[in-house]
Subunit: 204 residues, 2 copies
Amino acid sequence: MSETRDRLLRAGERLFRAQGYSGTGLKQLASEAQAPWSSMYHFFPQGKEQLAEQAIRYGGELYAQMIRQCFATYPDPREAVAAIFAGEVKILRSSGFRNGCPVASVALDVASTTERVRKPCAEVFASWIAALAEGIAASGKPEETATDLATYILASLEGAIILSRTSKSVKPLEQTAQFVLHTLQGKLPRRARKAKNARAAAKS
Amino acid sequence: MSETRDRLLRAGERLFRAQGYSGTGLKQLASEAQAPWSSMYHFFPQGKEQLAEQAIRYGGELYAQMIRQCFATYPDPREAVAAIFAGEVKILRSSGFRNGCPVASVALDVASTTERVRKPCAEVFASWIAALAEGIAASGKPEETATDLATYILASLEGAIILSRTSKSVKPLEQTAQFVLHTLQGKLPRRARKAKNARAAAKS
DNA sequence: GTCTATACTTTGATAGAC
DNA sequence: GTCTATCAAAGTATAGAC
């Protein structure tokens, strides 16, 4: 609907992604969005948390679409996941290692302090896992295994992005991709379903 | 040497870990450390960046020791890595999902803005990778492969911590551990060394 | 819906007495 | 090394005219 509102959300996604939640000021955000300061509280009367919540969902939906797009283009999950990692390499490179994950930086900032913002972060992560799992399950794997795999893939991707962004090198992303892809082509852990047994073993 | 200085560093590690760099105020930090406000600039005349830099290194060294300890206790890399993941589960649980990685939250905050703090973050990550690689190489794997593996393990661990912290559930951590351990016991990706070829393939 | 102005708080950082 | 006081700037949020 509103043009200005969209610009605010996009600026939010950009800035939160690069500087985190606390590190981004609303005035900087409005200025970056070329929006008047008054629109800030016009469109988001509940302030920063409300804006962040919607910016997270906005960026999250974009990324979910990208994931689905990859699986639509490459029916083979291995190729799809390779494309996702490769896409991340491109994003990091072309942004000078500024654009990492639009959710992770906010999530770490607020996970323990601002419940209202933590929740959308968790939901977006869950939606990405669902998108990955759906793509994987489409190739014939049982659904539970697909969700476990999807969680593992997202975790590896997120961590690799952090390492790459911090070291300003795409190597961690590329190296991690190799092992994840290998997992995808190989046989899965014996009985990925029986997480309970494995859990007990890991604890000891 | 100084008792007060140590308390400030420890408080820094605690707070930065849970709230990020921008999200943590120096006054809150001094109060939490039960240190007078004046000691802040007495011990860290260059201000917040200097404190953060040293707090990062402090926490980083602690974690590196823990990694080495795990490999010393369990000569089998698989068991050592399982212990590291299990330890993280315990830390998250016992802290009410507050204590994630002491570096990642700061790294995402400042990676693109505060070079002085980004650098120690990158160095600490590198030291953890080195510690992991050393433990893995000790079991007979070639050195280059060990470093690649170590990067992959750390990435998966970091990402899993994020997912677990955000969702307030240890499931992502436990599921990710399963796949990582499976990679460790299985055969490695064909020619982990020839990263260049793989890189080219991932791009296409 | 936008403009200008402003209240109030917190931030990082200094100064000077002791 | 610590205390008290204070600074300028930036933070979020509001108010009222247009």
